[in-house]
Symmetry: C2
Subunit: 294 residues, 2 copies
C-alpha cells in the first residue's frame, strides 16, 4: 500500500510537473460570473471553476483556510466543500492551516484535517514551535491513514529571519534554527518513508530563500518540500531549483495569485478566469521544466 | 477609552481572581443531561451550562477551537455560538486558536477572530514562528478595535524545550529562544500599553516551568501572561506565582479539565457538573489567593 509521499510523487510524475495551485480567494478579485449570495458561496463557485480548469494539468491544490475562516462557519463549510470537490476531481489536497497544539488538542486538529470526517484533505501544514509534542499526534494519523503533513521550517516572508535564522548552540558549534528544525523534521519522518524514497512528513521551505533551501535539501534528503513564495511573492524558477533533488523530485511549488487571478494580467478578462489560469499553469510548468533536474 | 489590557485587568479586579476557564469539551465526558442530536449542539449546551455556572465568579473563558474544529463547520458554529454566549454573560473571551501566517493571510485570521463578524472574541492566541510579519496584522486589529493577542513564548508541554530552550547567539553572549521571544513580545506590545500599565499584546507562558516564568516576568514587565498547564497538566499555585508582578497582577491562569469536568472527581455526579465547576473555581481562587502578591 502506498503512503502519502508515494501518492504525491506518483501524481507529480503523471502530470509531469510539481505545481500546487493555491486556492486563496479574495472577494475583491472575484469575477462577476461566479458571484452568489454570500462570500462563502462565491468562493466555492470560483474554486470549482479553478479546479475544473487545472485538474488535468496539476497534481496538487492547497486552499489556505484563513481566507475562508474570516467568514466564520459558513466560510469553513466552503473550505470543506472546496477540499471535497478537489479530491473528487482526482487532485491531492493540502489544507494550509498551520495548526499547532499539544496532546489531545493536537489530536483534535489531526482529526479535523486528516481524519476524513470534517475536512477531506490529504495533508495539512503544521507549525513546530511547540516541539514534537505538537507534531506527533499528526504523525500518528499519517501513519494510520496514509496522510501527510508539511512542517514549517524556513518560511518565505522577510521577518522569518527573526527566529528562523538565529544561530543556536549545538555540541559541535552553531547551526541556524531552520537547520535545527530541518534535522528534526527529517528524523520525525524517518519511519514514514515510502516506496518512492520520500517521507510523508514534509517541510515548508520558502521560494524566496534559495541559499537556505540548498542547505536544507542536504539536511533533508528524504523530505518533500512544499515551496510557497513563487510568482507574486517574488520567487522565480531559478530560485526554487535548490529545492529539488537530482532525481528532479522532492518539491512541490505553490503559486496562488499568479494562477487563480491570472485573468487580471491577461486578455481573457474576468469571464475568462479559467482559461487564464490554465495558461498560467502551462507557463509555470515550462519555467520549472527548464530548471528542474538539470 | 480602555484597551483590551485595561478591560482584562478591570475584570480581574472586579471578580477578585485571575482565573480563565478553558472550554475544551470532549464527547466522552459530556453528561447525559446536555446531550443533543450532534456533538456540536451537545458542546454548546454543555458550555452554556458551564458559562452560567462560572460567569459571576471568573473574568475570562478560553475555548480551544481544536475540540470544535474536529467536527468541521458544525463544530465551528458551536465555537462561534459559545464565544457569543460567553460575551453576552459579561465574560472576556480568548479564542485559543494559535493561528499563524503572514500578510493578507494573517489579516484573514485577525478578521476571523478579532473582526467582530465571525467569531465574537476579545483576544486570540498566536504562534510566532514566522516572526513579526505573522504578528503585525493582529496587532493592527488590536490597535483599531481594542482587542488583544497572546503570543506563544514558553509552552507548558515537555518537548517545548526542543526549540524554545535552545541557546541562541546574541551580540553579548547567549539567550534562550523563549527569552528572545519574550523580548520580541514586550517590544511588539510597547505601543499597546493602556492605563493599567499593561499591554494588549500578551504572552503564553506555561505553569509547568516556574523558573523560566520568573526570567520571563523580568523580561516582560508590561506583558500579561496567559498561563496554561494548571491542575490537570501538573502546575500548582506555587508554580504560577512567578508569573505575577508584585502588584498581584500580570497573569491569568487557565484551568480546563480541572473545572469543566470537576464533576468526575466530586460527589455531584454528571447532573451536578455546574455545581462541581463552581466549587472547583472557588477552590482554585483560594489556592491562587494564598500565593499571589505575597
Amino acid at each position: 500500500m502506498k503512503n502519502f509521499a508515494d501518492k504525491l510523487i506518483q501524481a507529480i510524475q503523471k502530470k509531469g510537473n510539481p505545481i500546487c495551485v493555491g486556492l486563496d480567494p479574495r472577494m475583491a478579485q472575484m469575477p462577476e460570473c461566479v458571484k452568489k449570495d454570500s462570500p462563502a458561496e462565491t468562493f466555492l463557485e470560483f474554486n470549482k471553476g479553478i479546479i475544473d480548469a487545472v485538474a488535468d494539468l496539476v497534481p496538487v491544490v492547497k486552499p489556505q483556510i484563513a481566507f475562508y475562516e474570516q467568514y466564520g462557519s459558513e466560510g469553513y463549510l466552503a473550505f470543506e466543500k472546496t477540499c471535497e470537490y478537489a479530491q473528487s476531481k482526482g487532485l491531492i489536497v493540502i489544507a494550509d492551516a498551520k495548526r499547532n497544539d499539544i496532546g489531545s488538542t493536537a489530536e483534535g486538529y489531526a482529526q479535523a484535517f486528516l481524519g476524513g470526517f470534517a475536512v477531506k484533505a490529504d495533508a495539512v501544514t503544521v507549525t513546530p514551535y511547540l516541539g514534537y509534542d505538537g507534531v506527533k499526534p499528526f504523525v500518528e494519523v499519517c501513519k494510520k491513514s496514509d496522510k501527510g503533513i508539511f512542517v514549517l521550517v524556513k518560511t518565505s516572508n522577510k521577518s522569518s529571519c527573526e527566529l528562523q535564522d538565529c544561530d543556536v548552540s549545538i555540541p559541535d558549534g552553531n547551526m541556524k534554527v531552520y537547520e535545527l528544525m530541518g534535522h528534526y523534521v527529517e528524523s520525525w519522518g524517518a519511519n514514514e518513508v515510502g516506496e518512492s524514497g520520500y517521507s510523508s512528513i514534509g517541510a515548508v521551505v520558502g521560494a524566496t530563500f534559495p541559499d537556505q533551501a540548498k542547505v536544507l535539501r542536504k539536511i533533508m534528503p528524504q523530505t518533500i518540500f512544499l515551496v510557497p513564495g513563487y510568482g507574486a511573492q517574488g520567487g522565480a524558477a531559478e530560485d526554487v531549483k535548490p529545492c529539488f533533488n537530482k532525481d528532479g523530485l522532492g518539491a512541490i511549488i505553490n503559486s496562488s495569485r499568479g494562477i487563480i487571478f491570472a485573468y487580471e494580467s491577461s486578455d481573457y478578462g474576468p469571464d475568462g478566469y479559467q482559461d487564464a489560469a490554465r495558461d498560467a499553469v502551462s507557463k509555470m510548468a515550462r519555467e520549472l521544466s527548464d530548471v528542474i533536474g538539470k
